[in-house]
Symmetry: C2
Subunit: 456 residues, 2 copies
C-alpha cells in the first residue's frame, strides 16, 4: 500500500516536471526526466497530459524516447500520441519499435491513415507489417513478433554465439534459440545456456532439442496462452503449414492475454463491457449498461408472468408470495455454483459426451441433497412462522425440485453454449437464472395450487 | 479442438505403454517412453496411474526422470508420488529439482515427514530450504527460487561470461543477470544480450542498468504478479530490508498465480471452492457448496420477512406479488454491474477517497437514468396488464429507488470490504444482492401501502 502511494507521488512529480519542461522546451531536462525512471512509469505519467501538452511533449522527445513512450502506453493513449505526429515522425519512431507493437498500433488507426503510413514504409518493413496485419488481433498470428532468433542447424556453437552477439540486441527473447534447416523449416530449439555450456566446435544440430511445441497462426489467443502456461515456455513459435517459422509469441504478451480474458469474463458475466471503468462518462455508461438491463427485464417479465398466472392461488394464501422468493432465489444461487464449475472446466478443455454423464448425474443428486437440506430448514421456519405443516412440506418439495433444475440447467447451459460456439462465461448466467426463477415460481405455486385445500 | 483430441489420444497411449512397462519392469523402455515426449505430457499421463502402479513406476524411473515427474505434476499428485518413495530416494530426486519446487512439496507434506526429510539434508541445502519455508506460500518469498544469477560489479565482461557458462545450467533464468556489490547488495542488473554485445574488457559496473525493481519477501503474490506484468519482467528480485538479494520470482510462476487468482475470484464469487472440479465426489461437493447455500438462505429469509410484513397490502392487491419480483431482480442486475466495475478497479489499484466522489455520484445518476428507463417500460407493461396507472407509477418510482440503491451498494460494498481487508471479489455479491432484494421489496411494497387506496 505504501509502495502504491509512493508510485502515485512520483507520478505526480513527473507530471509536474513534464509541464515545466513543456514551458521551457528544454530537451536536456526531458532526457534527464526520462532516464530517471522506468519507461513504464514515464509513460503512465506522460499520458496524463492533455492533448495540447502531449503535442508539445512529442516535439521535444528524442525518437527513441518517443518510441518507448508509445510501446509502454495503453492502446487508446498510443493513438492519442500518434495523432500528435505527422507520418514522417511516426515512421522514424517506428524504427525503434518492435514490429508486433507497430502492428497493434496500426490496427487501431483509422483505415486511411493506416494505408498512408504503410505505403511510406521501406519495402521490407511493409512486407513484414502487411504479413502480420493479415491475422486477427486475438490469434497467435496477431500476437506474434518477428523479432525471434532462428539459426541454421549447420552452424557451429561458436558461430552461433557470434550471430547472437550481432542479432541479439534486436530480438525480444534471447533465452530460446530456434533451429531451422536449409529450407527454413523449424526442426528444433536450444536454450542459450546449452549454447554457452557446449564445446565451441560442436554443431547446433548436435546440441538442439528436437521436440518443438508450436502453433499455427490462426490459433485462438486463449488456446495460445494455455499452451505457453502449460509448458512454461518463454517463447512459443508460430509456424506455417509447411512448418516454417513465422514468428514467436512471448510470455509477456501471454500475461496480457490472460489478464484481458479474465477481465472480459468477470465483467461480461455481469453485463458490463470490458471497455468500461470507473472514469467512464455517464452517457457512455448508460449506453453500455442499459441494453443488458433491458434484456434482463424481458426475463423478469417472464418470471413475473408465471406469478401472475397463479394470482388467484396467492390471493387465497398470501404467505405464498413471501416464500416463493426464497425458492427462486436459492435456485439461482445453486445454479450459479454448478455453472461456475462448468464454465471453468470448459475454458480449460473440451468435454466429451461420455465424460459428462457421471458429473451430470452427480449434479442432479447434489440438487436433491442440497435441496432437501435447505428445504428442510426453510420448512421448519415456515412452519413456525405460519403454523401450517403443509406449507412447509410444499416448500421442501419445491426447493428440491428447483435445486435439481438448477443443477440440470447449470450443467447443460454452458455445455450447449460451447457446442454452438458462444462464450459460456458470458451468456450462461442469464439463461440459468431465468430458468431457476421461472421454474422455481412455477413448481412452488403449482404445488400450492394442487394442494390448496390443505393450505387454507 | 483436433489438437486436444490428439493430446488425449497420445496421453492414453502413453498410459498404456506405462502399464506395459510396469509389468515387464524394463527401465530401457521407460527411458524411451520418457524421452519421446514433453515432460509435462509424460507427467500428465503418469499421474493417471493408480497408487500401486505409481509405486512400481517410481522404482523403475531414473532419479532425474523422477525429479522431472514431480516438478511437472500438480500439488496433489506430487504428494501421491512422494508417498511411494522412502526418504533416501526422495532426497536423491531432490538433487535434480529446483529449490522452490522442493519447498512447495515440503509445504504440503505432513509436518512429521517434512521435519524428517529436512533433517536428512546436507547442511547447505537445509539452510536454504528452512529459509524459504519461513515465508507464506502466497507471498513473494514463498514464490521465489534461489536459482538466480548474481555477479559482482567488479567482474569483467569476459569473466562474467565464464561464470555464466559455469552456473547457467543450474539457474532458472539466464536472460537477466543481477549485479551485486562487495556487501552482496543488489545495485543493478543487465540483460544477457548486453553482456554478449559488450567489449570483453569492460566491467559489469560499466554496462549495468542501475534502476532495479525489487520487492520485499512478504509482498502478497497478487501484488508481485501485478509488478511483473506491469513492467514485463522475466524475473523479479526479492530483497531483504538491507537490499540483499534473497531470490527471484520468475514469470512462469507469475502466470500460475494469475490463473489461480482468476479461478479463485470466478468460483468463490459464485460460492464454489477453487478446489472443486467436475470430478469432485458428491460428498465433497456437498461439503463445499452447502455452507454457501445456507448463508444465502439466511439472506433470503430476510427478504422474505419484508414481504411477510406487507402481507395485508398484498392480500388487497395480489398483482403486487408478481411485480415486486421484477423490481428486486432488476436491482440485483444493476448492482452486480456496478460491483463488477469496482471489484476490477480495486484489484488493480487503491482508490483514494477524493477519487471516489465523482464516480460515486455518477453511479447514483446512472441509477436514476437506468431506473427511469427500465421503470418506464415496466410501468407501461403493468398498465396494460392490470389496467391501473397508479400501479405503473409506483413501479416506476420503486425501480428508480432500487436502481439508485443498487448503484450505492454496488459502489460502497466493495470499497468497504477492501478497507477492512476482506476480498471484494468474493464477498461483495452476497451483500449487494441482499440489499437490492430487501430494499427493493421494501420500497415497492412500502409505496404500494402508502398509496393503497389508489390501487384497489
Amino acid at each position: 500500500m505504501d509502495e502504491e502511494k509512493l508510485n502515485e507521488e512520483s507520478e505526480k512529480k513527473t507530471l509536474e516536471t513534464l509541464r515545466e519542461i513543456i514551458k521551457t522546451k528544454d530537451p536536456e531536462a526531458l532526457s534527464v526526466c526520462f532516464d530517471a525512471q522506468n519507461p513504464v512509469d514515464f509513460a503512465r505519467a506522460a499520458v496524463k497530459l492533455d492533448d495540447d501538452e502531449l503535442t508539445e511533449l512529442t516535439t521535444i522527445l528524442d525518437d527513441d524516447e518517443l518510441a518507448s513512450l508509445m510501446e509502454e502506453s495503453e492502446d487508446d493513449d498510443r493513438i492519442r500520441i500518434a495523432r500528435t505526429l505527422d507520418n514522417k515522425r511516426l515512421l522514424t519512431a517506428f524504427e525503434y519499435m518492435q514490429k508486433d507493437d507497430i502492428v497493434d498500433m496500426l490496427g487501431d488507426f483509422p483505415i486511411g491513415r493506416r494505408k498512408e503510413v504503410i505505403n511510406l514504409m521501406k519495402a521490407d518493413d511493409r512486407r513484414i507489417i502487411n504479413n502480420l496485419l493479415q491475422y486477427p488481433e486475438d490469434s497467435a498470428g496477431g500476437l506474434m513478433t518477428t523479432a525471434y532468433i532462428a539459426l541454421r542447424e549447420t552452424l557451429s556453437v561458436s558461430a552461433g554465439l557470434d550471430k547472437l552477439r550481432e542479432i541479439g540486441p534486436k530480438t525480444e527473447v534471447i533465452e530460446t534459440i530456434f533451429i531451422i534447416n536449409d529450407r527454413r523449416k523449424l526442426i528444433g530449439w536450444c536454450d542459450l545456456r546449452d549454447l554457452l555450456a557446449a564445446p565451441k566446435d560442436r554443431y547446433l544440430s548436435d546440441i538442439m532439442h528436437d521436440k518443438v511445441i508450436s502453433v499455427p497462426p490462426e490459433t485462438d489467443q486463449e488456446e495460445t496462452a494455455h499452451i505457453v502456461s502449460k509448458y512454461d515456455l518463454v517463447a512459443l513459435p508460430v509456424v506455417s503449414p509447411s512448418n516454417q517459422i513465422l514468428g514467436i509469441v512471448t510470455v509477456d504478451d501471454v500475461i496480457d492475454v490472460i489478464v484481458e480474458e479474465y477481465d472480459e469474463d468477470i465483467l461480461q458475466m455481469a453485463g458490463v463491457s470490458k471497455e468500461e471503468n470507473i472514469d467512464t462518462s455517464l452517457g457512455e455508461s448508460i449506453k453500455m449498461r442499459l441494453p443488458w438491463l433491458l434484456v434482463n427485464l424481458l426475463t423478469a417479465f417472464l418470471a413475473s408472468y408465471i406469478v401472475k398466472a397463479f394470482e388467484s392461488t396467492i390471493a387465497q394464501v398470501v404467505a405464498l408470495s413471501a416464500i416463493m422468493t426464497i425458492v427462486s432465489g436459492m435456485g439461482g444461487n445453486a445454479g450459479t455454483q454448478t455453472m461456475s464449475i462448468l464454465v471453468r472446466e470448459l475454458s480449460q478443455k473440451n468435454l466429451k459426451f461420455s465424460d459428462c454423464i457421471r458429473p451430470f448425474l452427480k449434479e442432479i443428486a447434489l440438487g436433491v441433497v442440497d435441496g432437501a437440506a435447505t428445504g428442510a430448514v426453510t420448512a421448519v421456519v415456515v412452519y413456525f412462522m405460519y403454523g401450517n405443516a403443509f406449507l412447509g412440506l410444499i416448500t421442501l418439495m419445491a426447493m428440491i425440485g428447483n435445486l435439481v433444475i438448477a443443477g440440470v440447467c447449470g450443467f447443460l447451459v454452458p455445455v450447449i453454449l460451447k457446442k454452438i460456439h458462444a462464450d459460456p462465461a458470458i451468456a450462461s448466467s442469464i439463461f440459468v437464472t431465468t430458468a431457476t426463477d421461472v421454474l422455481g415460481f412455477f413448481i412452488f405455486l403449482g404445488l400450492a395450487n394442487i394442494f390448496l385445500r390443505f393450505l387454507i
